[in-house]
Symmetry: C2
Subunit: 290 residues, 2 copies
């Protein structure tokens, strides 16, 4: 049980966390801050936060738990804004989709207090953003990846683990590097591809005719293309090395399949599709077995 | 109202069509044939068809409507097998995802009777195949593209249009070439990309760890990667020219976004993502306005 959550960033991720924590009875009071005052105000009107803070620093004042839920590139500035009130007893978490850059920022800014910071990445989201889509069920049943570093305090780590478990999440611990490589492959690259596919269609004269004919396959494949531009700009830039490496693997695979198509190699093509189809058919969301 | 449907191919697409036609009271009797006798038997046991035919030709015997629902590359052999019983009064349709190759086959095989053949492509499907997934609602509310040629008989065309409308479909007529270009962009390329993405992950040592961490974005993006290998081998080969052209547009777009990422051009990248996000947010399934 926490006394006060300092929520920095009252958007979809932060707002949903506050709602989930409140519903579970795990926090008494939520003090929130967003860069845009209208977001903070809407969050209060919706009951996502109890008190509006005029700055990130004031949102942290009196908090025993802090959630930084801002686009990853804003993490460093956010930590700088609050560092004077960060204490050893506080639990600070983030929800960023990349971990190495966030941890680098935390080391640089928090220094001796970096042990209070537990880097988290809940595998949850929607293609819509903003506090108006905040949902207390957003995290339920989802995986949360925690990437502690050697200086993370054991006490804060176990409080973070218990908290996410209490929200019905499955907690997975791994190294920040392993996290970033995996998410480049299964999340960041699919987003980049979805953006590029839609933009490629948009670059053609027949774009309206094409889009009007698209079916359920297109709908699901491109759902993530509707994601928030600022959030994804930051993620793609923050994890660029792993992302570009994964994109090379993908393009090589695509080009080898194109060569089969060009050569009319039906058997090889069928085998290649069958491999993908088999893997994808057996895959289940949130299963620890691939 | 039809007397007898000759169904060639009792899988997901054909089986769902038979069920929909029966439920709408549009056909008295369904005679079915599948290449695999066990499929035909299961279709009869499930009530998808009323009578099992031992050959495609016998499925057509006595039929006033014929649906060819086989992988597109099997269309020509199927039409050859039935051509001796094809008459001018019969309505023959297919459900293939490519239209130029199917029409070429129909011209070659049916010759003077090609006017009975109405090329159709219902924009409906599931990532699972087989008669056990046949569903009378599969086509309801979906678009059906009809690509008549100059020799198509007006009477057969209007019967086909009325039939699909009676199944609650929106019918769109267009030229076969326009159809194939559009579906290369919005369907065939997304499938090829999804297959390549999964195979690219599978080619890496950490594949199991990667897949175990994948979330809802990956789930939706790769849903079509679980599609039937034979069906998609045929589609990708049949429409290879348009598909490879679309893949070039996509790869150029992807590489230009990669260049922004590599150069750290945040503004350009955000603008590019915003364009995709905006288009995809405004897009609606089955809407004739893009």
């Amino acid at each position: 049980m926490f006394e006060q959550l300092g929520l920095i960033g009252c958007g979809l991720m932060g707002g949903s966390f506050a709602l989930a924590l409140k519903r579970a009875g795990l926090v008494k009071r939520v003090v929130g801050y967003s860069k845009s005052p209208s977001t903070t105000e809407r969050a209060r009107q919706m009951g996502v936060i109890d008190v509006e803070a005029p700055s990130a620093l004031l949102a942290v004042s009196g908090a025993d738990i802090v959630l930084v839920a801002v686009p990853v590139a804003a993490t460093e500035a956010t930590l700088k804004a609050i560092r004077h009130l960060v204490s050893r007893d506080m639990l600070i978490m983030d929800v960023g989709s990349t971990k190495r850059d966030v941890i680098d920022s935390a080391r640089r800014v928090l220094r001796d207090n970096v042990g209070s910071f537990v880097p988290c990445h809940p595998i949850a989201g929607k293609e819509v953003s903003g506090v108006e889509h905040a949902d207390p069920d957003l995290y339920a049943g989802k995986q949360v990846i925690i990437t502690p570093i050697e200086r993370t305090q054991v006490a804060q780590l176990s409080r973070a683990v218990e908290l996410w478990k209490a929200l019905d999440c499955t907690v997975v611990q791994m190294a920040p590097e392993a996290h970033d490589a995996a998410f480049a492959a299964v999340s960041h690259l699919p987003h980049l591809i979805a953006f590029a596919l839609v933009n490629g269609i948009a670059s053609q004269e027949q774009r309206e005719a094409f889009l009007s004919l698209a079916g359920p396959g297109f709908r699901d494949f491109t759902r993530i293309a509707a994601s928030d531009p600022k959030v994804w700009r930051d993620i793609l830039l923050a994890n660029r090395q792993e992302l570009l490496a994964q994109s090379q693997v993908f393009q090589r695979t695509l080009q080898s399949m194109e060569a089969m198509i060009e050569a009319g190699s039906g058997d090889a093509l069928e085998q290649s599709i069958a491999q993908a189809s088999d893997i994808r058919s057996r895959w289940r969301l949130g299963s620890r077995k691939a």
